[in-house]
Structure formats: C-alpha cells, structure tokens
C-alpha cells in the first residue's frame, strides 16, 4: 500500500498534534518514505520545543509591579489617565511629544517626569544670575534641605570625572509634591540638570529611557521610589555618558 498524499497543512498539523489519530498515522507513513518532509517536520517540532524552552522564564518569572494586582487600582481607572493625558496635551503648547507615550499608566507617569524635567531645564538652565537657589558652595546645606523637603535622603552625584561641576540646586513643584533640580555645567558653560522626584508607592526600576523635546534631550528612569531625569541641550551620546555616571554613583 503506497502512502497517501499529504498536504502542506496536514504536515503542519502533524507537527502540532492537531490531526485526528487515523490521519496522523497516514502522515507518519508518508514521512517514512519522504526524507525531506520528515526532516522539515523534525525541525519544526524542535522549533516548538525550543520556543517553549527559550521563553519559559517569562512564565515562571515575577510579574513586574506595574502589571500586578497591587497596582490594579491604577490600571482600573484608565479614564482618569486619559483625562490626565488630554489635560496635559491641552496645557502643553509644546509639540514634539509622542501622544503614544501617554497611553499607559506607568509610562504616562515616567513620561510626565521627563516632560516636567525638560521644561524645568529649559526654564532654569539659561538663567544667568539665579540659576539655582542654593549654590554648590553650600552643598551640605543643599542636600540636607532638599532631602528634608522630599522626605528622603538624596545624594548629589559628582560629575567632575565627566567634566561637569555642580552649580547648585533648587526646590521645584513636582507632579505630586516637592521635587529637586541639581544643575551642573562644563568648562564651556554647557549646563545639564538632574531632576529628582519621589513617589509614594513606586517600587519600580526601569531602564533608561530617552525623550527629546525641541533641543532638550532627557534620559529618565525610575529607581524604587525615586524618579530621575537628566536633561541637557547636548547630543544624546554625551547625555547618556553622564546619565550612566549618575546612575552608577547613585547605585554603587
């Protein structure tokens, strides 16, 4: 008895165990006589196995906080978030931000962080006479003061190795309370600002993210309850280099 002819779809279904047993037996018979098809079937089965293996850690791994039940209340009220996004966009006369990034909750928050930081940078960094409230000469006082206002122990990164010296810092209104801005400048007077804010519940750590607003580039990230955003009108590679140094100093 010669093996019955087999369609491509049946070969696939054989791979996935989606054929009725009788038909599967006939396909097996076909494969015994068709080396090339048999090799393909074997390779596809191995693909399935490897897919399972490769991504298994995702099934077993911890679900990030922002997707967890504890955060549910936040993702239960998307309407409010859309309202916030709409308000933000209405208020903002500045174009160039991706509305896309407004959609998701945590992303909206972190994005808001980047935005506020960029605006603060644009407002204060050109300032000649009053760029900061407390100068670097009173660094100790600056740290104590802002730590107290933000309700958490802040650290001021030192960026001399990157070519930037501390100008000083100031207190700013953040999304939900006080925020801090530290200003640095290099020998040519090019200024960078580091914006720091605290959130009550966040325990998240994110990767560096980058946003660009007109000339101001911002690298921003969350680290536990603290959100950081480093802004500057410099090229992205340079900003990344400094952001990396900031991160390393804050997370020795």
């Amino acid at each position: 008895m010669s093996a019955p002819s087999v369609t491509e779809a049946e070969l696939q279904a054989y791979v996935d165990g989606q054929l009725p047993p009788a038909r599967a037996a006939e396909v097996a018979q076909h494969l015994a006589q068709h080396e090339e098809d048999a090799q393909r079937v074997a390779a596809y089965r191995r693909q399935n196995e490897n897919l399972q293996l490769a991504y298994a850690p995702l099934l077993a791994g911890a679900v990030p906080a922002r997707l967890q039940p504890g955060v549910r209340r936040r993702w239960q009220l998307p309407v409010q978030r859309y309202a916030l996004a709409a308000a933000l966009m209405a208020v903002s006369g500045i174009a160039g931000w991706q509305s896309h990034a407004y959609i998701a909750g945590e992303r909206t928050q972190t994005f808001y962080l980047a935005r506020v930081a960029a605006v603060a940078h644009a407002v204060y960094s050109p300032e000649v006479r009053h760029p900061v409230e407390v100068g670097a000469d009173q660094e100790e006082h600056l740290v104590r003061w802002l730590s107290k206002r933000l309700g958490t122990g802040l650290k001021i990164p030192h960026l001399a190795a990157q070519g930037y010296t501390l100008v000083g810092g100031r207190l700013l209104p953040g999304e939900r309370g006080p925020a801090a801005q530290f200003m640095y400048q290099d020998s040519k007077g090019q200024r960078l600002t580091l914006y720091v804010r605290v959130s009550k519940e966040g325990r998240e750590q994110t990767a560096f993210r980058f946003a660009q607003e007109n000339n101001v580039g911002v690298f921003y990230w969350l680290d536990g309850r603290l959100g950081y955003a480093l802004s500057g009108e410099t090229d992205r590679a340079e900003l990344l280099r400094v952001a990396d140094a900031v991160y390393r100093q804050l997370n020795p």
Partner: protein
C-alpha cells in the same frame, strides 16, 4: 444581564498575564517593549471588558485585544521613542537550558527577522499552543491564512536558524 464586576474581571484577567508577557516578549523581541504592550493591552481590555462575553475563552479574547494593540503600534508611524539602553532586557533574555544554546539564542534573533504576521502565527501555535482555529480567531484572519503563514514562517525560521539560504529553490510541482 449581570456584567462581571471590574474587580472580578481583573482577577480573571490576571491569571493570563504571565502568558501574555511571554508571548509579547517573543513577539517584540524586547522585555521592556513587551511589558509596555501587555500593560496597554490590559488597559484596553479593561476599557472594553463589556465586549467580552462571560463563559467564552478569556485567554483568546485577551490575546485578540493585545494583538490589535500590537498591530496598531506597528502600523502607526509613531513607534515609541523610548529606547532600551541598559541591560534590563538581559535579565529576562531567553535562558538557554538545553545543550542547544546557540540554536535557542539564534531563535530569538531569527524570530525578529520574520515578518510580523508570520511571527505571530508561529508563536501562537508553537509557543502558546493554540489550535489553528483559536489562532485564526485571535488574529481575525481565515484559517487558511493561518496555515499559509505558519508554513512560511516555520520554513523561514528553519532556514534562518540552520543557516540555509533564505528561500527554498522552487519545487517542481508534478
């Protein structure tokens, strides 16, 4: 006419999050983008939860919602400017557990080289182990389309991972 309470729906949806993450990770090739996608999908699912009929397959429905979000993201020119720059992604890189380390690592890269529509089918069937019928419903395409994408996707993946030429020589059809 009882609508499931939001809480109840969320609780039910919750159990599928690990599967949604796994699929999203394989689909996007990026841990951070994957979680963004899952989060967007969950939010969309909550907004649209009334469209889900209780008693029907919630997993398939959630995958459908996520697929639509994904397609919209891919289609919109406004792909996120968020850029992954540190090694967070490495933490959840596929972990080779067999001796076929290379093959598995290559698999992740090769998947990203597939056209998005083939990749989705290969993953729904091979990773998520959906029936062809379920995959067709999730992707909202005819089952014949699922079959042809599956066939082409798998063959292309095989060629990519085995270092064969990308397209097979034409077969003589008898």
């Amino acid at each position: 006419m009882n609508r499931p309470a939001s809480d109840e729906f969320a609780t039910q949806a919750m159990q599928y999050i690990p599967r949604l993450r796994r699929y999203a990770r394989a689909l996007t090739g990026d841990a951070s983008a994957a979680d963004d996608l899952v989060q967007d999908a969950l939010e969309r699912a909550l907004v649209k939860q009334k469209l889900w009929r209780e008693g029907t397959d919630l997993r398939a429905w959630l995958f459908t919602v996520m697929h639509n979000v994904f397609v919209n993201q891919v289609r919109s020119a406004a792909v996120s400017r968020t850029v992954q720059l540190d090694d967070d992604a490495m933490a959840e890189r596929p972990q080779p557990q067999s001796s076929d380390r290379l093959e598995i690592r290559d698999l992740d890269a090769a998947l990203q080289a597939l056209p998005e529509e083939q990749r989705a089918v290969v993953l729904l069937v091979g990773l998520e182990q959906m029936t062809y019928d379920e995959a067709a419903r999730v992707l909202e395409v005819p089952i014949g389309t699922v079959m042809s994408r599956l066939s082409r996707g798998r063959e292309r993946l095989r060629r990519l991972t085995q270092g064969l030429p990308e397209t097979a020589p034409l077969k003589v059809v008898k």
